[in-house]
Amino acid sequence: MSSEQTNLKPKLKLAVYWGSACGGCCVSVLDTHEKLLDIVAAADPVFWPIALDIKYKDVEAMPDQSIDLTLFNGAVRNSENQHIAQLLRKKTKILVAYGSCAYMGGIPGLANFSGKSEVFERAYVETESTKNPERIFPVTEYPVEEGTLKLPKFFNDVLPLNKVVDVDYYIPGCPPQSERLIEVFTAIVSGAQLPPKGSVVGANDKTNCDECKRTKSENKTIDRFYRPWEIQDDKETCFLEQGVICMGPATRGGCGVRCVEGNSPCRGCYGPPPGATDPGAKMMSAIGTMINADNPEEIDKIIESIVDPAGLFYRFSLPGSILGRKVQ
């Protein structure tokens, strides 16, 4: 798309959709504050459930490739998410997986440590506020006199967007930093040379340590791991050197190292840097290296202090990781 063409074009058509998400991503778009006006000036939202009342059938009626840009946030959890993802793919020129959930599964992705039945069991039976002795669970079709009631099918797994449809770009973050969205949006609107398809945009190539202000040294040997509340953080030294697992070195920069700035270790919502495919695995490899013991028993003892490696290293990325889910 050349710049002349975009200039000629009056306005982009923009769609924003949330799949299995907390809504934070949609809010992050609004979090652009006054810049939102610039966005709206450059683009017409044609579909945005949180903001506009447009029905699915209206979207279905749009000609293919008529939407210029779709920001799809949230993971794919059920058949409705899947359907809309596929629909928007058809109607959209540039489909962006927006936010950690769409990118790698995000927090809802932690559901992949279990399956549909366990989720239902918890949600409809076990939750403390629930009383469901008959064990009634949602069904996709329920015949009533008026006809058949339909619910979207609840998938067994949480899927990142790219496992359902072809994705053009990814903007990571939980949620993405609004400044980054503006940058990307501006780039698209300005008709600048876009990076190759499949790129992560709105984030840095280097990982968080690059921007992190804490002091770092080569002295990264760990005798015991601590959870953040277990130590008195000196607020200056690299978390890892204090024995606290920080996903910073395996996580793309771009967030502004906000968590660490707030004296909380990075949890990796920005996903892996370009050199890595599976941030959790990379981080495990690095963390493993730091264990200060050679004999198996001592190593085991040190590892004991990492309570939940899976949940820790894959907090935002389980469905998008190599294994994707717990084996069933």
Binding site: G288, A310, F313, K326
Partner: protein, 144 residues
């Protein structure tokens, strides 16, 4: 077809790979289920590789390096051990049975031991049945 487990093995060049070669030059027969990938040092073996192997359908993954103290690169095998231990904690959390992922030390002279190891692992895997990592990831299965 009956179940033929497939093992992906990562062998360090100096000890384990040489040991596996020795099994060959000594014509010590072992189960054909193993697929060996040569790495210079067990210290180069990353969790990523192991997870990838499971993802691709491996029923077992074997990591072999030099015996402790014998590493050609001094201590790569210790690093491997540490990473392995952590990874194993993770894989068990992820529902991969412990015996599917093994780390063993094989020296350049242990052709026989290597063959025995492969046979042993193959036997264990046969009794365990196929790994479900790959099938768990298959979309048809996911969307039940």
């Amino acid at each position: 077809m009956d179940f033929r487990p497939k093992i992906v093995a990562f062998l360090c060049n100096w000890c384990a790979y040489t040991g596996a070669d020795l099994a060959g030059t000594s014509r010590i027969h072992y189960a054909p289920n193993i697929r060996i990938i040569r790495i210079m040092c067990s210290g180069r073996i990353e969790p990523t590789f192991i997870l990838k192997a499971f993802q691709q359908g491996a029923d077992g993954v074997l990591v072999c390096g030099c015996h402790p103290g014998d590493c050609h690169y001094q201590e790569g095998n210790y690093k491997c051990l540490r990473r392995f231990k952590l990874l194993q904690k993770f894989t068990r959390q992820m529902g991969i049975e412990k015996d599917r992922l093994r780390l063993e030390w094989i020296s350049a002279s242990e052709g026989k031991q290597f063959a025995e190891l492969v046979n042993d692992m193959t036997k264990t895997l046969l009794s365990m049945g196929p790994s479900k990592v790959k099938s768990s990831l298959e979309v048809e299965h996911l969307n039940v």
